[in-house]
Subunit: 352 residues, 4 copies
Amino acid sequence: MADAGRPLVETLTSDAEIALHFSAEAELSAMQTFEVALAQSQGALGTLSSAAVQAVDDRAGPSFRPSLDEMARGFARDGVVVPALVVALRKAVGEEHGASVHLGATSQDAIDTGLMLRLKAVFQILDRRLGTLLGQLEALAAEQGELFLMAQTRMQAALPFTVADKIVTWTRPLQSHRARLARLAGDMPLQLGGPVGTGASFGPAYASLRADLAQRLVLHDAPPWHSDRTVILDIAQGLALVAGTLGKIGQDVALMAQTEVAAIRLSGGGGSSAMAHKQNPVGAEVLVALGRLCAGLSGTLAQSMIHENERSGAAWTLEWVLLPQIAEAAGAGLAIADRLVSGARFADVSKA
Amino acid sequence: MADAGRPLVETLTSDAEIALHFSAEAELSAMQTFEVALAQSQGALGTLSSAAVQAVDDRAGPSFRPSLDEMARGFARDGVVVPALVVALRKAVGEEHGASVHLGATSQDAIDTGLMLRLKAVFQILDRRLGTLLGQLEALAAEQGELFLMAQTRMQAALPFTVADKIVTWTRPLQSHRARLARLAGDMPLQLGGPVGTGASFGPAYASLRADLAQRLVLHDAPPWHSDRTVILDIAQGLALVAGTLGKIGQDVALMAQTEVAAIRLSGGGGSSAMAHKQNPVGAEVLVALGRLCAGLSGTLAQSMIHENERSGAAWTLEWVLLPQIAEAAGAGLAIADRLVSGARFADVSKA
Amino acid sequence: MADAGRPLVETLTSDAEIALHFSAEAELSAMQTFEVALAQSQGALGTLSSAAVQAVDDRAGPSFRPSLDEMARGFARDGVVVPALVVALRKAVGEEHGASVHLGATSQDAIDTGLMLRLKAVFQILDRRLGTLLGQLEALAAEQGELFLMAQTRMQAALPFTVADKIVTWTRPLQSHRARLARLAGDMPLQLGGPVGTGASFGPAYASLRADLAQRLVLHDAPPWHSDRTVILDIAQGLALVAGTLGKIGQDVALMAQTEVAAIRLSGGGGSSAMAHKQNPVGAEVLVALGRLCAGLSGTLAQSMIHENERSGAAWTLEWVLLPQIAEAAGAGLAIADRLVSGARFADVSKA
Amino acid sequence: MADAGRPLVETLTSDAEIALHFSAEAELSAMQTFEVALAQSQGALGTLSSAAVQAVDDRAGPSFRPSLDEMARGFARDGVVVPALVVALRKAVGEEHGASVHLGATSQDAIDTGLMLRLKAVFQILDRRLGTLLGQLEALAAEQGELFLMAQTRMQAALPFTVADKIVTWTRPLQSHRARLARLAGDMPLQLGGPVGTGASFGPAYASLRADLAQRLVLHDAPPWHSDRTVILDIAQGLALVAGTLGKIGQDVALMAQTEVAAIRLSGGGGSSAMAHKQNPVGAEVLVALGRLCAGLSGTLAQSMIHENERSGAAWTLEWVLLPQIAEAAGAGLAIADRLVSGARFADVSKA
């Protein structure tokens, strides 16, 4: 559960299930999936012999695990892992068919496509959790929806409405974000452009190759987007919207749980080292923190739009540092929100 | 042209045509459009008498111009202009029918709906400018597209490609952003929820009223989004993507126009006070600045997702300060890019 | 009071007194101050004849007002106003001594030095306002300091303390920021480096010239900082700390003023267009918005650290757009805080 | 070297030596240092018996290692580790003297003070690395300083200057940042305020206790800063300035290393998976990324200024997530810059 080498705060703000898809192992594995599928597509289109495809399939696929230290050394040297990975894969495939690995491709093809494959898996996790959270909120609305609650505008009591009215202000954006994530997951694009993004290195069958490969990897066939990071920004926006809405829910809960307001009760809340009577709304606070974090991180990520010419190592590195954090924060937020809502009950003020 | 009271930098970074729609006058006028249309819809549904509707229509519409000083005093006092505006409109409409103005509505209904009406106009300007810029880029591609150009990856010469290959990396995202802005403009939602966003203040005909009013204002009928600012964030994202892509184009141009690279020539470039031989790529630099600015501003805007309970004055104010700037920056960027591209010619390196 | 052409929100978030120092007129005037003082220093060191100095002093000083339209056209063309300004000043000085204007200097010398001169004036305004606000807070502590108040930690009632204990958490950082601003104002550095920041264009007397000019302009003598924007970031940090602390005070006040908490009463608070009973804590909310705004703007400004080589037009433009906003937000915050505190009284809970 | 469970990009952007001080183990250990020293101070002032102090010293100090899983469970429950840690420490100390642990203190006292202790160690590492890097740059200036180099302003060749002139634009801000970090390290303040930051829980000897404890921990004696995060923002600013200046150096190097400019040669540069002739300026690019990252992260961190009342769990969590990243990025940047500079040589253009 706890990692002695990481900050304690990650106990709450990290997300092991999401993080798995941003691990070195997952990165390498997804790139290998790309490389094998590329060879298969090139085989299907007659660019590679079936023997070559077979060799790549057998020896460069999941059964082959490149040395992580070697890969890290390659990354440190080249700023990307692909050159080292391709060397390792070619060696694994053997002299005869080694050159059939990564044929016509460039690092970015493997990296961006691999990222899309991993993000699809991440979005599945988020979709499942959003489903669970929405279920919880609907159950809470079913149980307590008719209770009265004081609506608050501009930090002042406004007019009474119902718990159901409140909950719908949470579920409506979450449902819309869930639909957005599903749309984004269904549109994750293949990246295949070769060294300078023109596809020329793949020869005359480039268009067919891209279509075949996209279908094989269940990605969207799209022209190269090597220097246009709109896809990444839209994904980050989808994640930041989830975290932002959860932050808004956390803020609402923390405000309603204030001692003097007492409109909601939380279970399992946080103890204090100095004041035994206190029950701190820990989950609600962390949701606010994660929402503010993702807002800031996504604005910083947007700096990577300004990609120098055909490929920017600087913009790319910035992207790689930030996107996993945004995804983990959205994921951690959903896990926290789930626990928060499951332990929350609105006060029955009609009895008061 | 120049405003003595504003910073000189606004000569390049502001956009008078866009700014017009974020002026106090435009804000008030759009809110009056909302108030009149609301009365008309209430009349159509039988909530208001035709005499009342007529009175509102005649006296609260564009022919009535509230005192700006009065409105500013109201804003300073209330943090929103609507209470002062409603007082002024009711007085203008007269004692008999004054109460028919703003019936059942809350400030946010007028403000958010008015904003959507104004943003539609802003998006039309941007669409027109994107069309012009894309036309320029296509003309440039037609004229010079076959010239060779050195593709640059990671700040190093990579492989030659053509000017057409380069230009398509600019037009593709711009076309996609243009389509996005058109989609956003077509989806601008009505805001109508009353004091706490439940619509209860509009009575049993709320759903019909909302549908009628949306149609009347040519907005999208949508449930209240008073505390869910996804709409605003998506609009900001659309604008920041335009500014970001223009920033990327500016960065490319500045890199290609370097003395030692000389892959592109710019006309009308900037003089230096100390070095007469210099031609600074002013427009390209300003595009980079505007791209970075919008990235940062949109990340800051995302902080306003965390809306306390049913309405947050803090989150709202943040939104109001930032959104006009983001729109102006996108608009100014398009104007600058247009001048930059019209004066740019790629070098014919085949002759070198 | 109100400007029909600007957004209504600026009624609260802009600051006319501060804005004056960021106006085109103030920019030009400060640059003229630099140019005249430079000639005087060059005269004192024997580089210019006394006749030349006299001519510059007489005709390039405050009595000469360059055409604003001409300056704006120059800015639009060159991305800086200095080339156009120098042409105008040289023309005003006349053929014989015109070349004595801006001798050896570069645009950045005039721009950065002019900015420092204007910021000193801005910091004086802020210092005065901080003094007034601290006085108000001390008076409030003197009047109500002994009242009990519930301290709140993590959004929960913690233990009672006193109003004086609360107020000291506001005054302590404000005093420290005031001292910081005074320190920064006393350290505002001269910029004098010539075209590429080596001072070579000023000849062998460069060191003496810089010292003389710094003394004349009451600025700190410092080596060129043309591509090192630490000075700007420290100034922005000073301003953002003021806005951030005011945001914290605003947040505290909004929380204490909640209907259910009622620990503080505000006067003159904001009306609602739909709920006559409401008193919104407008000033407190705007302080929160300005604090969050400045946090975001200062993070965006920090992107301008990455200054390409000896001078970056992109980084510079970003700086010019952001710094005035940060200063105005800090200024507006102080004006709002002053009104907020003057109308605030803590509840006497001992009576409850 | 490589961690299979972390993103590959961390090979370049993380910093194991710095990270060690932000690990759960380091956090706990620093808090234990605080708790033991607090008991010692209370002993010195006669609040605790020497037997109690002895017991705490013997059993709550470094020889006691609390169960990490228990601590993580505590953190997840309470949003801070201190309640669980205090329980564990009191149990370790034993029934008789257990209550002498954390006497009068609150979680924040242990957390903030512990952070200051760890940051002092981090700043020592950074100081050492800054010294090494400055040494490298001075050696390079000594070796190549007299070579000519084309100064570049606004992305255009300006005038020739020397390599020494260039290097001084890098060393000057680095020296100033080094002095700033030393100043910050010397000023790291003790946090000791008790539950609501008034010190009341420590009794009448509070002032003496704070002075004694500060001296014991070699920290600066300061009034409580529990809800005023200026200290944290100044530390982050110091770190972001380092990263920003390194980003500027990286940008300069990447621009000078461009194929067409060739003003600097880099060794050990990055290979490409598709273009064997390429040498990518990996280190320089990563420095730009880290500079932009820290700018954004520090702007996001500044949101935590808006601390609700006497203690904000949300603002705190945000701080805890961001500060370690900013420190690691500054540290990683220094390590990368060191390798970059050691392998860089300016071209001798006088021979060209």
